[in-house]
């Protein structure tokens, strides 16, 4: 399998077959919390994609050049949280100063996902699967795109459900959880999809 093919395989698995939210169940908190409206869901998705790409790159560097040479792999989780939290803060400040338009679009979501488990999960999966630098970044970004796909689909469902009549006891959060479950079931249909 050529290198390009492996990257395409990562893309396919991160977006569809091993979707972060609907198959792996990482990052359910923003998935349930910020999915009431389509535009906020889209903003959250973009922010997660952005942060996951950067975090994957940074954690790969930290892992390969600091943790592995010093035999500190068992500290990965702690070290990654530290790296991700700091990098998100720096990126936020940088955006506020240099790209105010992007800050306006992503600003309020960035602090929310500093310690998001989908972001940390992407970093840890990168290590488990032994991806190299480019593969890690591709996995992070496409994982974020998968997150965006899932949250946007879910937000559009919730917008419709909010206008529909549903039994009193299911109103609000219960019906949201049920729709999330059905959406996850639908995504199970992608399992087994492969690039040859």
């Amino acid at each position: 399998m050529s290198y390009i093919q492996s990257l395409l395989g990562i893309l396919l698995s991160a977006v569809l077959t091993e979707n972060f939210i609907l198959v792996k169940f990482y990052g359910i908190c923003p998935f349930m919390g910020v999915s009431k409206k389509m535009d906020t869901a889209l903003g959250m998705g973009m922010a997660v994609t952005f942060v996951m790409g950067i975090a994957s790159a940074a954690t790969w560097l930290v892992n390969s050049f600091i943790l592995i040479p010093l035999d500190l792999e068992y500290m990965q989780t702690v070290a990654f949280i530290l790296v991700i939290a700091s990098i998100v803060q720096v990126v936020e400040m940088f955006l506020k100063k240099s790209v105010p338009a992007l800050y306006q679009a992503l600003g309020i979501y960035l602090p929310l996902i500093t310690t998001n488990c989908a972001v940390l999960g992407a970093a840890l999966v990168n290590v488990q699967k032994g991806y190299d630098f480019l593969q890690s970044v591709v996995y992070g970004v496409t994982g974020g795109l998968g997150f965006t796909l899932a949250i946007v689909l879910f937000a559009s469902i919730r917008e419709r459900v909010s206008n529909a009549e549903c039994p009193k006891s299911f109103e609000g959060f219960p019906i949201a959880l049920i729709s999330a479950g059905l959406l996850a079931l639908a995504f199970m249909g992608f399992s087994g999809l492969k690039i040859f």
Binding site: V62, I66, L70, L72, M75, V78, A79, L82, V83, S86, Q89, V90, M93, F94, K96, K97, S98, N163, A164, E165
Partner: protein, 280 residues
């Protein structure tokens, strides 16, 4: 033992370095913000109702600071907010008159003592989505015979952050004491029935929006304006006119005498002046 020390040292070192980077970054990327922005936001009620035309109180404060928006656009803050903002910006604010929402429909749904339908009549039972917009989109423009009247599914009630508009007997009614005039309800009304009126200048109200011919209106509602023009004839101030089969009041001329309310055969002009006799 050394392993633990290495781990502590490396992670502590990483934390220290990241901390230093963050503190340097916060100096390098420091963005100056005008202290007045915070004060202006404080002066606003913080309801983020959108009545000023901006996405929220902070956005309006920003616009005022940049000189893009005039002071006194905040309906819910009213005169107090305008004066406070004027003080912060160092200018003089004009007196802001309070305005409230007004629903131009009196088409309540009810039956009289003989079991006969009065008020707005229905074409039939509506079983669809419990939402004004959805109901107004079904074939035949909704369950009411009147094509202009309040559908009564309460989109305005849902939009109101101040608990000031409610569906009473199937028609939306504004509670003047609670309404701040942000007009978020008006944006949600698919029939565009809700209009802003200056508070205190609306003692006489034409509560109908039907522009259909009198004979058509009368078929659908016992409280609809048939455009007979009696109010226009009796008005001493030339303040009420029938246009497109509907009476409308010019509040610049109206002095709330209430004569029109007394002659209206359909009793849809209401004089809500406190000392006036209640319209039966």
């Amino acid at each position: 033992m050394t392993e633990i020390l290495i781990a502590i040292g490396i992670l502590g070192g990483m934390g220290l370095i990241f901390g230093l980077v963050l503190s340097v970054a916060s100096k390098v990327f420091y963005v100056e913000s005008d202290p007045r922005l915070e004060e202006l936001t404080q002066a606003l009620p913080g309801a983020n109702c959108g009545g000023c035309g901006y996405s929220g109180c902070a956005a309006y404060a920003q616009a005022v600071l940049e000189g893009k928006a005039p002071i006194g656009k905040c309906a819910s803050g009213g005169d107090d907010a305008a004066q406070a903002m004027a003080q912060i910006m160092g200018v003089k604010a004009e007196k802001v008159t309070r305005r409230v929402a007004l629903v131009r429909c009196a088409g309540y749904k009810g039956v009289d003592e003989n079991g006969k339908d009065i008020g707005a009549k229905m074409k039939g039972e509506y079983e669809g989505i419990h939402d004004c917009l959805a109901a107004s989109k079904v074939a035949g423009r909704g369950p009411l015979i009147c094509k202009f009247g309040c559908l009564g599914f309460g989109n305005c009630t849902k939009a109101c952050q101040y608990d000031a508009i409610h569906i009473v007997n199937g028609v939306a009614k504004v509670d003047d004491t609670k309404c701040v005039g942000c007009m978020s309800c008006a944006a949600q009304c698919p029939r565009h029935l809700i209009i802003p009126v200056e508070y205190g200048k609306r003692n006489v109200v034409v509560a109908c929006a039907s522009q259909a011919k009198g004979s058509v209106t009368i078929r659908g509602c016992t409280a609809g304006c048939i455009g007979c023009g009696l109010c226009q004839k009796i008005c001493p101030n030339d303040a009420i006119h029938v246009d497109h089969n509907l009476a409308s009041i010019d509040y610049d001329k109206c002095d709330s005498c209430g004569l029109c309310a007394t002659v209206c055969p359909k009793k849809l002009i209401a004089n809500t002046k406190p000392e006036a006799a209640p319209v039966k």
